[in-house]
């Protein structure tokens, strides 16, 4: 009998290299090694940001201190909160991402429903134009909009961001319309037809039958929309500058704002702007999104399954 077919050896082989039914130890070890390595690459900037942000000025100067600060120094955060004018900018960011997102999602669902449920001429043209709105870079349309807003006195007014969202032209609107199109097209038509036979109007069918049936699509679209609006800075800077200051807008002029509060000539060396303060500002900037992500993570990681989007 071949030694390799001895039962004990065979069992060991299964354990190490796996069989048809399960992965072996080596495969598992390789799998976790790769996953942990990639996970580290992803987390490294975040860890770096956090660790740097709690370093005291002494730790920053000390070359021995790399990843483990000698103390948990909160001074940077106190400065960061002041420089970012946190309570105001946080509020502004929340309003300027939640309000346009809600409008954008509602409009996208109406348009997506129309595209999925009705037959009419020119539908393929609408899809081409939808793709075009996704492709056209913002700088190809933003200047005339800005000049028009200026003439209307709307520059710096929240309406400058809300109006496009209200008319289905919000940030990445095309994606949300396609999400709703996919969701509604895969939802069976039978229920709606029987309701229509009972005399329900189109609007009633949409509101009472269609909307509740694709609720996950609403939730997923809403949270993605909030995140994208929150992180958007190109349009917000152009449209809201001078009126509303969101968190990312304030972060992008952090150095300037810091030197206004702590003029370089007058403060002692420990109060000068250093990378620890900058990193605390950056961390404060993403903290609300991180909190939201960890609370709603199921909706992010399972969004595709929930909306049935597959990319056709």
């Amino acid at each position: 009998m071949n030694i390799f077919h001895h039962p004990t050896i065979q069992r060991l082989r299964w354990l190490l290299f796996g069989s048809r039914a399960h992965r072996g130890l080596t495969m598992n070890a390789a799998l976790y090694t790769v996953l942990i390595a990639i996970g580290f690459v992803y987390l490294q900037p975040l860890l770096f940001m956090f660790v740097t942000s709690i370093k005291s000025p002494d730790d920053l100067l000390n070359p021995m201190v790399q990843w483990v600060p000698t103390e948990f120094y909160l001074g940077n955060y106190i400065k960061g909160l002041r420089v970012l004018n946190y309570s105001n900018t946080l509020m502004a960011s929340a309003v300027m991402s939640i309000v346009p997102s809600m409008l954008q999602v509602i409009v996208a669902s109406v348009v997506g429903y129309g595209l999925a449920r009705y037959r009419f001429r020119g539908k393929s043209l609408i899809f081409i134009l939808l793709l075009a709105t996704f492709l056209i870079p913002p700088q190809n349309t933003v200047i005339p909009q800005m000049l028009t807003y200026r003439n209307l006195g709307l520059l710096g007014n929240p309406l400058a961001l809300i109006l496009p969202a209200l008319l289905g032209q919000g940030y990445k609107s095309a994606i949300f319309i396609l999400i709703f199109y996919q969701s509604y097209i895969s939802f069976p038509k039978v229920l709606e037809e029987s309701a229509r036979l009972d005399g329900a109007s189109d609007m009633r069918v949409f509101l009472t039958l269609a909307v509740p049936s694709v609720l996950p699509a609403y939730i997923v679209s809403f949270i993605f929309s909030i995140v994208w609006y929150w992180n958007e800075t190109f349009l917000t800077v152009i449209f809201l500058e001078g009126g509303v200051t969101t968190l990312p807008m304030q972060l992008s002029k952090f150095t300037q704002a810091y030197e206004n509060l702590y003029p370089p000539g007058t403060v002692n060396i420990f109060d000068r702007l250093n990378e620890a303060v900058k990193m605390s500002g950056t961390f404060l900037n993403i903290l609300p999104l991180l909190v939201m992500y960890f609370i709603l993570q199921k909706w992010f990681v399972e969004s595709v399954e929930m909306t049935g989007i597959t990319g056709e």
Partner: protein
């Protein structure tokens, strides 16, 4: 009203179409007002010397002068465009391959899968212009430590210039590139989950190795998702607010000399380059997908 006039009788078909138009009307109005009109207006600016005063906007028709200036006179713009093209062509395959690998991992069954998923989708939440800018400024976007290894620096110095730029970009921005793959992982994962498990089993019973299974079953089933992901990657890289070309165009907008007209012309050239890149990548992937299925 008793009886009905034939004129008011609309066919069911037309009624359905009218209701359909009713649902999309709001979008059509928005498209005209916020996309088409500004796009045409920007194109008009690009053919003019634009001066903005507090009261109104003065246009002075200059034909294609803004375009020739961008393409032949301005040394920065072409340099930036070339840089953008190289960076995009380097980033797209990395994002695609990386997203595909991660998606295949996440499609397996293993312990702590939830934890790894949470980590891998984190970039969706935090990838914003100012955050990336601060992180890159602190060197947190580079592969840790690799830029300082003497051997690496020496290796870079010996490369020809045409090769050095992409490799250098790769080393300094690797994490950044990976951070642009969150949504793409989601799309790949969805496609993988649609593949019927019984196909894998059938392949295994027929004695196909996992290597063969990947090339013959998994990869072809991901071809549509790959095209979608490639387009999504190019668009999100091109629209990213810290993109150097966009920053340059934005800065030029406020120039006293040229200003808006010149910036508009550059915006259109940039858009054109982006469309060319999209077309090249699209045709390339379609070709590849066809060969895969035959």
């Amino acid at each position: 009203m008793t009886g009905y006039s034939p004129r008011r009788e609309i066919s069911l078909r037309t009624r359905e179409a009218l209701h359909g138009y009713g649902f999309i009307l709001i979008w059509v109005v928005g498209f005209l007002l916020f996309t088409l009109l500004p796009l045409i207006e920007t194109f008009r600016y690009s053919l003019n010397q634009v001066t903005v005063t507090t009261a109104n906007i003065n246009l002075n028709f200059v034909e294609w002068a803004n375009y020739t200036r961008a393409l032949f006179t301005d040394p920065n713009f072409i340099e930036l465009l070339i840089g953008y093209t190289i960076e995009t062509l380097v980033s797209v395959p990395i994002v695609l391959i990386f997203a595909m690998i991660i998606a295949m991992f996440l499609n397996l069954k293993f312990k702590f899968k939830g934890l790894f998923r949470v980590i891998f989708f984190l970039p969706i939440v935090i990838t914003s212009g100012p955050v990336i800018k601060e992180l890159t400024a602190q060197g947190a976007a580079a592969v840790p430590g690799i830029g300082n290894i003497p051997a690496v620096i020496e290796f870079l110095e010996q490369l020809p210039r045409a090769l050095r730029t992409p490799v250098e970009y790769l080393l300094t921005s690797f994490i950044l590139i990976l951070w642009f793959s969150g949504v793409q992982i989601l799309i790949y994962l969805a496609s993988l989950q649609k593949v019927d498990r019984s196909i894998y089993e059938a392949a295994a019973i027929d004695g196909a190795s996992s290597w063969a299974t990947f090339w013959k079953i998994i990869l072809p089933s991901l071809s549509t998702a790959t095209v979608v992901n490639a387009i999504y990657t190019i668009v999100s890289l091109s629209h990213f607010s810290e993109n150097k070309v966009i920053r340059y165009i934005y800065d030029r907008t406020y120039d006293v000399q040229g200003g808006i007209g010149y910036a508009s012309a550059m915006a259109f050239i940039y858009f054109g380059v982006m469309i060319i890149l999209l077309t090249i990548v699209y045709l390339f992937l379609r070709q590849w997908a066809r060969r895969g299925t035959n």
